[in-house]
């Protein structure tokens, strides 16, 4: 690797460390807040340095990559590999850029083996880039992925001409990974995935190929293909299946289960719950067992849990199994009432389990498991409410996002107060109030709503925490596009349950310009919002907090309150509603007072929630 490349990677790792959650909940909140500010400043400086490194060293080379020397190409390959570095995925988007450049080079100079390898690597980098979007049901690179994997796989026709076994391995892996492209929750995609796996397995199981390339890890390839095929269980759960699909999934679930059992026996351990579930679920979906059996089996597996086990297996059993259980109830409403008590118990236990987590489990993995629960959350009128679940357990687990959201909520609450004091009619429609008098009578409710909307408006960001934590340079277009999906993700999460639905508009509309032209998403429609003025206030509050210090985009320089308010005034009528901007401007003294300690209070509140010492009461 070149010096700048090594430096870049060192910086990335440092930024990753600086952005890490504290290993323990700090006792001295003030010191922590100070240190966190310093860390952000350091990370910001490193990100700027990295941006310059790429601009000066890498991009000129990528501009004319076909003329690059062999040495330069080798350094790019090395750099790309280090950016991924095992599973740490330091910078997947840049890795994608590099592989794409190498692909161009390979095409230009007709380097077939390199071409096959780079087709595979480019596709894999893109696949990981897309992963966070897939979690929010967006598939921006699907066609490109299919094209890349497909082209690499098509070299199976020229298998015998390719002597290098590693290159042959890329052909097999590409052929198998075509199945990864088809991950939408539709029957069509399920069929495509199964077709891709069927075709891949036919070749992987063909002794002729195995004899030609004896050094390739055939068993691993076959095992991975079966493993991928079990993911179609998701479709089976949704009732989309035919006998061929059922048979194939059952075969793969059985295959993986047997392999896991053999391996576990050899280690003297049990087969992991994940694969036991896959096996049992396949039995149900293939008609061998009824749903009541599967639910009973899941209940029994859940009862075997250890609430002190915070390993991956423990998280699966304590958090993911209830999420899967809820999916079956959602798809079979006749069981919803019957199993209400069971599911409610599970949700209560999840709360206890999460509150009991050791301090160092502010991990992304925990967050993903929590989001998994939310994605299938069933809210009973007298049961655990999704809003409470979110406010008590989820939002506090990303400290930076929590602090920004908490401050947004507080500013929004001030704006509501100011609006009610000066022009209550501005908020007509909020909480269903149709007169100024009704609004004034519900001041407390409106203040609370503003605060909670502030806390919840950015929940979609949690889907992108991996991306944000690794951000170590200016954003590339792909990242910007991906990040914009966070508003859709927020809407998706909040629209599931009656308790969270009123906050959907704040989640969807907080980045959309008042003029309907700027910002995103274009799909936010003010006419569908029962109180666009309230969304305008949340949006203005969030914008101000971001201007003061952007905890997401580290390369945005913080502003003073005066600078931020000037910007707000300049953006009145375009980015912000004129009235909201005016109210913010009028609040200058109160804002100044609040900002002295606002961040500190927010951290304190987060720590209390994380320690399980309190539940959300509507803020201080």
């Amino acid at each position: 690797m070149r010096e700048y490349q090594e430096k870049y990677i060192r910086n990335l790792k440092e930024i990753f460390a600086l952005n890490a959650a504290p290993e323990q909940i700090p006792q001295d909140v003030e010191a922590f807040a100070r240190e966190r500010r310093e860390r952000r400043a350091q990370a910001r400086a490193l990100a700027q340095e990295n941006t310059e490194l790429l601009r000066q060293e890498l991009f000129p080379l990528l501009d004319d990559v076909v003329s690059a020397s062999g040495e330069e190409i080798a350094s790019l390959e090395d750099f790309a590999a280090h950016l991924v570095e095992g599973a740490s995925q330091l910078d997947m988007v840049l890795s994608y850029y590099l592989h794409n450049a190498l692909l161009v080079y390979a095409r230009r100079w007709d380097r077939r083996d390199m071409l096959i390898r780079e087709l595979y690597q480019t596709a894999m980098a893109l696949f990981y880039v897309e992963e966070s979007a897939v979690r929010v049901k967006q598939y921006p690179y699907r066609t490109k992925l299919a094209m890349l994997f497909g082209e690499a796989a098509s070299y199976i026709k020229r298998y015998d001409e390719i002597e290098d076994q590693e290159t042959r391995g890329y052909i097999h892996r590409s052929m198998a990974n075509l199945a990864l492209v088809y991950n939408q929750f539709t029957e069509e995609d399920g069929r495509r995935k199964l077709t891709a796996i069927r075709r891949s397995l036919r070749i992987l199981n063909d002794p002729a190929y195995q004899e030609k390339s004896p050094d390739l890890p055939w068993d691993l390839y076959i095992y991975k293909s079966h493993q991928e095929r079990t993911t179609v269980l998701g479709l089976l759960r949704a009732g989309i299946a035919d006998p061929q699909m059922l048979g194939e999934v059952m075969e793969s679930a059985g295959y993986v289960y047997e392999r896991q059992r053999e391996s576990s026996l050899a280690r003297g351990a049990e087969v992991s719950l994940r694969w036991r579930y896959a096996y049992e679920a396949a039995q149900y979906h293939c008609g061998v067992r009824p749903l009541s059996y599967l639910l009973g089996w899941m209940e029994s597996a859940y009862m075997d849990r250890d609430e002190g086990n915070y390993s991956d297996g423990g998280l699966y059993q304590n958090m993911f199994l209830p999420a899967l259980y809820a999916v079956y109830l959602e798809e079979n409403p006749e069981f919803q009432a019957k199993k209400k008590e069971v599911l409610s118990l599970m949700y209560r236990r999840i709360s206890a389990y999460v509150r009991g987590m050791p301090d160092n489990l502010l991990s992304e993995h925990t967050m993903q498991r929590l989001l998994g629960c939310l994605q299938s959350f069933i809210e009973y009128p007298d049961g655990v409410q999704e809003k409470g679940f979110l406010l008590d357990l989820v939002v506090c687990r990303n400290l930076d996002v929590f602090v920004a959201s908490r401050m947004t909520g507080e500013v929004a609450r001030m704006l509501v107060d100011r609006a009610l004091d000066t022009d209550p009619a501005y908020l007509l429609g909020a909480l269903g109030c149709e007169t100024a008098e009704a609004l004034l009578a519900r001041r407390d409710g409106l203040r609370r709503f503003a605060m909670e909307a502030g806390l919840l408006h950015n929940v979609g960001v949690f889907n992108f925490s991996n991306l944000l934590r690794r951000l170590g340079r200016s954003w590339l277009e792909e990242e910007r596009e991906l990040y914009q999906f966070h508003v859709d993700a927020g809407m998706d999460l909040l629209s599931r349950s009656p308790s969270t639905q009123p906050y959907v508009h704040a989640a969807l509309g907080h980045h959309r310009g008042y003029d309907g032209k700027t910002g995103y998403p274009a799909g936010y429609d003010r006419s569908q919002d029962p109180c666009p003025a309230m969304t305008d206030l949340i949006s203005a509050a969030a914008h101000l907090v971001r201007l003061l210090e952007d905890r997401v985009f580290l390369f945005n320089q913080p502003m003073t309150l005066d600078q931020a308010l000037e910007r707000v005034r300049a953006e009145a009528g375009t980015r912000l509603a004129p009235k909201a901007a005016e109210l913010l401007w009028d609040l200058r003294p109160q804002l100044e007072a609040y900002l002295k300690d606002g961040e500190l209070w927010a951290y304190q509140e987060a720590f209390l929630l994380l320690k399980g010492k309190c539940v959300w009461q509507g803020g201080s």
């Binding site: 066609t143 299919a146 094209m147 497909g150 082209e151 098509s154 199976i156 026709k157 075709r199």
Partner: protein, 623 residues
């Protein structure tokens, strides 16, 4: 004869009779029916003008009125001399009168309509004529400014085109009214017909900023026996009206289908033209097909028209054995429905055999269009794999690659929702390789989009609406083109190394034709009349002339006779040399006469040079 004798004669008559002394208007006798009908006397019972006229007639001073109104009835007064008497017989003719009156009213209305029409026509003709005269003056006054001259000429072209269409309509109507119109049915391809309709109608709709939708129904047969010129005229009349009477932002829809007919060799052509324009009143709907009628509403009056189009349309449709119907509501729009029977024409499909068994990959987001395309491909013996989006296309390409399937052609829609095709197609081209023809299905003018799409790897286009013949020809051409790509790039009309004989008696016309044709690179030799043309042809070596452009009206020998004379010559190229009539005689009979005389094509004057070139080009291609 005395009064007694009169009483004997008339007392038993059923009709009222009043008898006068000749030259006197005082009655001397009236029978019972007359007494009952005329209690106060004949003249008192009649309206004053009629009484006066009858009185004068009785007195021998004039003719009796044709009709006399008595009570609610109408009578005819007939004066019958009887010796020194004059009997006035009153025949009741109320029914006859009413019928006569209706006819009279119609005649008056028709006359009035014609008068109005003539007055409007004279205005309509005068307006473009004024423009032509004025613009010609402007051009002459600015001969040193080519921009000014060009501008004037372009405007003159528009004005003269409009005047020509006005005159054509008037002449058509006059021929229809005199029963002198006949259809020239010949084997025609409906794809060509529709294409020619659309290239006129679409720009008109675009010009009016209207949405134009084509809805294709089934095409039971593409080759029909029909008069393409007249059918095109009918369809364009309906479309032009729809476009004319639909305000900006509106929508015009054309439905076109060829349905199976009652006999195996028959079909029905169904055409529907629907618009959401200004519509018609109920009153006007009853006379929409009457000649010279235009609705009298302020919105209509602003729109140019002769009021002849619909009458011509209806007459032509009926001449073709079809029917036309209209539904309309003011402010809602109109729907014209045509249903015309045709006989199938023999089609030669043998050359499509080469396509059998080939595989086509189709990218088309519109399900209906995709189904239509696939059905056509399958009926041609090809198999088609359809992708509705890029995702599916890549899946199919991957499947083909991995399953060892090879495609022979790739057809793609021009637009696909959510996809920038000009960026995606190069990737497809890379995957498919250079050898597979990539063809664009498009309703656009290819010349406008060619540059953009050829850069994306597209080899050519197949025009929409899609017809089997065009699809097959496109696929065949490009399958062959891959062997000889230069052929596809040949210019539309290249007359270099060609020699034409131009028979034209008008010196100015000769000069114009020489100049314009000369630009295409050919050599031209001129004859001033038909006889000279025959002599020049006769005196040349066989194959010396590539084609003959023949005026029809010429001194000494007209073009028709000259053509017959050339065809009758005993030399190898006499029958084969293309002879093209160029004449102002544009009627179908004239066309027929030209063709009967042995000419290959007929071009109307004033010459549209594009048409001249395309005609020459099509006749010379392959020679």
């Amino acid at each position: 004869m005395d009064v007694k004798a009169l009483e004997t004669i008339w007392s038993t008559a059923d009709l009222p009779v009043v008898v006068f002394q000749k030259g006197r208007s005082t009655p001397v006798y009236e029978n019972a029916p007359a007494a009952g009908l005329l209690p106060g006397g004949l003249f008192a019972a009649l309206p004053a003008p009629e009484a006066q006229a009858l009185r004068e007639a009785v007195e021998g001073l004039g003719d009796p009125p044709f009709f006399c109104h008595l009570g609610g009835e109408v009578y005819s007064a007939v004066l019958v001399p009887q010796g020194e008497f004059l009997a006035c017989l009153l025949h009741r003719v109320t029914g006859y009168y009413n019928r006569t009156q209706d006819a009279l009213n119609e005649a008056i209305m028709a006359s009035k309509a014609k008068t109005n029409f003539l007055s409007e026509m004279s205005h309509d003709i005068r307006t473009p004529m004024g423009a032509i005269v004025g613009l010609t003056d402007i051009a002459l006054a600015h001969l040193d400014s080519s921009r000014k001259v060009q501008e004037s000429l372009e405007k003159i072209k528009v004005a003269s085109g409009h005047m020509m269409s006005l005159l054509n309509e008037v002449l058509d109507m006059s021929r229809i009214e005199s029963g002198r119109i006949s259809l020239q049915e010949e084997p025609s391809n409906v794809a060509d017909l529709l294409y020619e309709i659309l290239i006129v109608a679409r720009p008109q709709a675009e010009g009016g900023r209207l949405e134009f939708c084509l809805d294709m129904g089934p095409i039971a047969s593409e080759n029909l026996m029909l008069d393409a010129v007249r059918l095109k005229q009918v369809c364009l009349n309906l479309l032009s009206n729809a476009i004319k009477y639909t305000p900006t932002g509106g929508k015009v829809e054309l439905y076109f289908a060829i349905e199976p007919g009652p006999e195996p060799d028959q079909v029905w052509m169904d055409v529907r033209v629907r618009d959401n324009g200004i519509g018609m009143t109920k009153e006007f709907l009853t006379k929409v097909f009457a000649p010279f009628e235009r609705e009298s509403r302020s919105v209509v009056n602003k729109i140019q028209g002769t009021g002849l189009g619909m009458a011509i349309t209806k007459n032509l449709v009926e001449l073709m054995g079809g029917s036309i119907a209209v539904e309309s509501q003011v402010g809602q729009g109109s729907l014209f429905t045509l249903r015309i029977p045709f006989h199938k024409a023999p089609a030669s499909t043998g050359r499509w055999e080469a396509l059998r068994g080939r595989r086509v990959l189709l990218l088309e987001g519109d399900e209906k269009q995709a189904r239509l395309t696939r059905d056509m491909l399958e009926s041609l013996g090809l198999s088609a794999s359809w992708a509705r989006d890029p995702d599916e296309l890549v899946l199919l390409i991957n499947d083909a690659d991995l399953d060892g399937v090879e495609y022979d052609a790739f057809l793609t829609a021009e637009k696909l929702e959510g996809t920038e095709l000009t960026l995606f197609l190069p990737e497809v081209r890379r995957r498919l390789g250079a050898g597979i023809p990539m063809l664009l299905l498009t309703a656009s003018d290819w010349s406008q989009i060619e540059y953009m799409f050829t850069r994306s790897g597209v080899d050519g286009f197949i025009p929409l609406p899609l017809f089997q013949s065009r699809l097959a020809a496109g696929l065949l051409a490009h399958a062959q083109d891959s062997a000889a790509p230069e052929a596809a790039l040949a210019p539309a009309c290249d007359l270099r190394d060609r020699r034409l004989l131009l028979a034209e008696d008008n010196e100015l016309n000769r000069e114009i034709a020489q100049e314009l044709l000369g630009e295409a690179g050919c050599a031209i030799e001129c004859a001033e009349n038909g006889r000279m043309a025959v002599e020049m042809f006769q005196g040349s070596a066989p194959g010396y002339y590539d084609a003959v452009l023949m005026d029809v009206q010429m001194p000494e020998m007209n073009g028709l006779d000259a053509t017959r004379a050339i065809r009758a010559l005993d030399r190898p190229d006499a029958k084969a040399v293309p002879i093209i009539a160029m004449t102002a005689n544009a009627f179908v009979e004239d066309v027929k006469n030209s063709l009967d005389a042995g000419m290959n094509a007929h071009i109307s004057k004033p010459l549209d040079m594009d048409k001249v070139f395309s005609t020459i080009d099509s006749l010379l291609r392959g020679r």
